[in-house]
Symmetry: C2
Subunit: 164 residues, 2 copies
Amino acid sequence: MARVSTDIEAPLSKVRSGAKLELRLWLRMLACVNLVSAELRRRLRSRFDVTLPQFDVLAQLEREPDGLKLVELSRRLMVTKGNLTGLVDTLVEAGLVAREAVPGDRRAQNIRLTRGGTDQFSRMAAAHEAWLAELLGELDRKTLVSLIDELDQVKRSFHLHARR
Amino acid sequence: MARVSTDIEAPLSKVRSGAKLELRLWLRMLACVNLVSAELRRRLRSRFDVTLPQFDVLAQLEREPDGLKLVELSRRLMVTKGNLTGLVDTLVEAGLVAREAVPGDRRAQNIRLTRGGTDQFSRMAAAHEAWLAELLGELDRKTLVSLIDELDQVKRSFHLHARR
DNA sequence: CCTAGATTGTTCAAATCTAAACTTTCCTGA
DNA sequence: TCAGGAAAGTTTAGATTTGAACAATCTAGG
């Protein structure tokens, strides 16, 4: 019908490239993210003695000077609330973040960077951004912009089709 | 003057906005992979009672009818060997994969799908591919091809700049 | 032959992560 | 006012993951 197969003549040996484009795209995205994540994790660990999930929490909090509720943090980081409980515990013990009461809601808590956490994070963030500029250094501006735009389309498509 | 370098960099103002672009690209990639991963994990769990890491192992093995050594599997999945030991244990107990001796190397072991593992996986793989086609359904062929190509550039850039 | 170094897989501790059950607190509508 | 349900965090059990140390085995020089 609408979709015309362009590889009718494809030999059976090329199972990989014969797969649906959507699957191939997914495997590429996964590979890129795994590669870069692993390298960033190694560098954060050896240079700043911080884990990648801990860095991710700090990075989200740094954008919100007034702090975030745990639930909002879990939404933005796309991890479960239960996961964050322990992660935040660790960062509180390290003195990098603090828990505060939320006026008017005794269930909730506000989590924000401490002064020390802000200082530490600013050094990490600078290195983190420089590492990314290095690792993705071969991509020209046009490609970067195109990728960002197309990944936004991926996100939109996902939200249109994923239930809940 | 100490600030001559500023003038030299001035014509290359692209560098500064380029650095920001790379960070933005990274955050987009991360978000897309996290979103899709979470959805695939949910569906694999509820429909086939299999975890995403287990599925990933089976998917790699399915491509290699003769099986793979554990080290090679860990390279392709980009996880540590220690991780795979337990993961393969689980799949062996479930009867989906089998360990074999490697002739000529008593250290190594060959891991391959069992007949039952092959059958089970083929059903999962079909659903998995259909889910991706659904979730990424808004992207036209041109965008898919463009993304795949540009993500290959990301991979190449990474390998040029990541040490080891 | 023999030994230093590399490779393969396991084990361990600590951290991360999910999913689900649970407690406490808030909110809404009848 | 007051159930009933929704929301915020915690806890728990189980699985995943890393990083490092380790034993067994292979390989290559000398």
